[in-house]
């Protein structure tokens, strides 16, 4: 283990401890709920990156969040299924759907894949709007039950939800990190760099891409389901094209090249908009120019900023 790696793991440990102690240091419902949403989007953005490294850019990940959210919310509303189980079922539903769709669409590359995923996001939203007898269309699902442990209801208290989302995020990140560092990850990177060559070396293009797609979508489903039980409300607009674009912004703004890029991106972009206290409708006014500026001047994303600084100071 070299020095760089040791610093990295130390930093990680510090951040995880801060994450766990945060509610003790500052028990403020507003900050907690902000962090909680950031955690949800971090999972989605890291999943977006996992697909991206295989050479496929997707603008449809929110569709899988929607599948998780609707599955789990409908099961708990109509059949009284426990939300804890719902988290898993939501994830599995999204994963199975991703498996099926992935086998078909991941064969198509480049711009075509982008358009297909864009369609996917829009289709999923229209589908929830259309299936009125079950999803209540534009009115959305209300009174989605929250989590409880034995007789302890999570209720409106933010702290249990905060810990739950933190744990979900850490598990998802751990799985995706290990995946990228394993043999599978090497195969995924190889596909992204040159998929024809990779296939000649015995890496099955479609199968590995489907694996990445399914893993990312499974976690998207889980966080989608968590989100539904957390805000007790599910609406088609939460899972259209816009949230998918947001996931992409978080991923790319932070730096798509490294694993921790999307994490930094989510914190900085979401934190910045919160800090500037902009109304929701006007937030794109910041995101738009931010994306353009990052693409023009920081092709490595925000995470490349210190690196650039150090390099120039060494010269």
């Amino acid at each position: 283990m070299n020095k760089n790696n040791r610093i990295k793991s130390l930093l990680l440990l510090v951040f995880t401890i801060i994450g766990f102690l945060f509610p003790v240091i500052r028990n403020d419902p507003y900050t907690l709920s902000l962090l909680l949403i950031i955690f949800v989007f971090i999972v989605a953005a890291v999943g977006f990156r996992l697909i991206y490294i295989t050479g496929r850019l997707t603008i449809g990940q929110a569709a899988f969040m929607g599948v998780g959210a609707y599955t789990s919310a409908l099961l708990s509303l109509n059949f009284g299924i426990n939300p804890w189980l719902g988290l898993l079922i939501g994830g599995i539903a999204a994963g199975i759907l991703a498996l099926g769709i992935g086998y078909i669409v991941l064969r198509v590359g480049g711009v075509y894949f982008v358009i297909i995923t864009l369609c996917l996001a829009e289709i999923s939203k229209l589908f929830w709007l259309w299936w009125r007898p079950v999803t209540y269309g534009n009115s959305g699902l209300i009174d989605v039950p929250g989590f409880s442990i034995a007789s302890f209801q999570f209720g409106i208290n933010k702290i249990p939800y905060y810990y739950l989302s933190l744990i979900i995020m850490l598990v998802a990140l751990f799985v995706m990190y290990r995946m990228e560092r394993s043999r599978i990850g090497i195969a995924l990177h190889a596909l992204g760099q040159n998929d024809v060559l990779a296939e000649h070396l015995g890496i099955n293009r479609t199968r590995y891409r489907v694996l990445a797609f399914t893993t990312a979508s499974f976690f998207c489903g889980v966080v989608g389901s968590f989100y539904a039980h957390y805000i007790h409300f599910v609406h088609p607009d939460q899972f259209g094209v816009m949230p998918s674009i947001m996931i992409q912004i978080y991923g790319i703004a932070g730096g798509i090249g490294v694993f921790f890029g999307p994490i930094v991106g989510s914190f900085v972009v979401a934190g910045l908009t919160e800090f500037l206290k902009i109304a929701k409708e006007f937030q794109p006014l910041i995101y738009g120019p931010l994306l353009v500026i990052i693409m023009l001047f920081l092709p490595k994303g925000l995470i490349g900023l210190p690196q650039m600084f150090f390099k120039s100071s060494k010269k």
Partner: protein, 290 residues
């Protein structure tokens, strides 16, 4: 269901297909020359509509004059976009997509900031109905279709016979070879953006009196235009787009009337996804350029 209903559906479909064509033509031209999917193209349409609203309702210009002025203004915006952004990202997929998404978000929210939430309407210039083969049609729709047809034909003639138009086609065929022939890549891509933006603005201005203006109105149109050019074959300059837009317009009009609006769009998207999977080069057999 009688013959008149069917005729009404066909004419509605053709009319929306023709205006869609204006947006799709620009999108495919830009894709053919710059190899960029400009996701902000729908916003040029939206800005065109707002520009016409601003010029005709607030400044009191004549509607047609307002459309022409809006086309010029939006074309100028397109030139700026091309000069400072798209030119740098020619044929690099990820950054160019991200930049165009950035532009899309920025233009949408700046319009929201500039004009507020409330409903904006452009006063229709033409009222009344015309009767055609026993079906009564709104005069406004017919005129929109006619103007769109004239514009499309003008663009086709320009691409076919004018020297700058021929240069555009040459670059779309082989950028390197046409550079060697002395065609300036930059001026061709600027010209393409001018044509594309002006057409999108015209479509927005024409359809403005039909719908309410809304800062999000560009995105659905962009999606449909994308579908049209996918159907016709990406980057194929003219033929495919024209057929694609008409098919999208007709399918949409029929499905909306027969089975309802949301499921109509779902069907449309599914058809397109299917076509992309079996024939990425487009349904009408245009050549795929990479």
């Amino acid at each position: 269901m009688n013959a008149q209903d069917i005729l009404a559906m066909v004419i509605n479909g053709l009319s929306s297909g023709l205006t869609l064509m204006l947006v799709a033509l620009g999108l495919t031209l830009v894709f053919g020359i710059l190899h960029i999917i400009n996701l902000a193209h729908g916003e040029l349409y939206m800005l065109g509509a707002y520009c016409v609203w601003w010029l005709s309702e607030l400044m009191g210009f004549n509607y047609w004059f307002a459309i022409v002025l809006a086309m010029i203004l939006i074309a100028f915006l397109g030139v700026l976009m091309e000069r400072y952004l798209f030119r740098r990202f020619r044929a690099i997929m990820v950054p160019s997509l991200v930049v165009s998404i950035g532009l899309m978000l920025f233009l949408q929210s700046s319009i929201l900031l500039g004009t507020g939430m409330g409903d904006k309407e452009i006063e229709p210039v033409f009222h009344g109905q015309v009767t055609f083969l026993g079906t009564s049609l709104s005069l406004g729709r017919v005129i929109i279709g006619a103007v769109a047809t004239v514009l499309v034909i003008a663009v086709i003639l320009f691409l076919k016979y004018a020297r700058p138009g021929q240069a555009i086609r040459a670059v779309a065929q082989d950028a390197e070879a046409s550079s060697l022939q002395g065609i300036s890549m930059n001026s061709v891509s600027r010209l393409t953006m001018i044509i594309g933006s002006a057409l999108a603005a015209a479509a927005g201005g024409l359809l403005g009196p039909v719908f309410h203006l809304d800062y999000m109105m560009g995105f659905p149109v962009l999606l449909k235009a994308l579908l049209a050019i996918v159907l016709g074959g990406m980057g194929s300059v003219v033929g495919g787009v024209i057929l694609g837009s008409l098919v999208i317009g007709l399918v949409h009009s029929f499905a909306t009337t027969l089975i309802g609006p949301e499921i109509a769009e779902i069907i449309l998207f599914l058809i397109i996804a299917f076509i992309l999977l079996i024939r990425p080069s487009g349904f009408f057999g245009m050549e795929l350029r990479t």
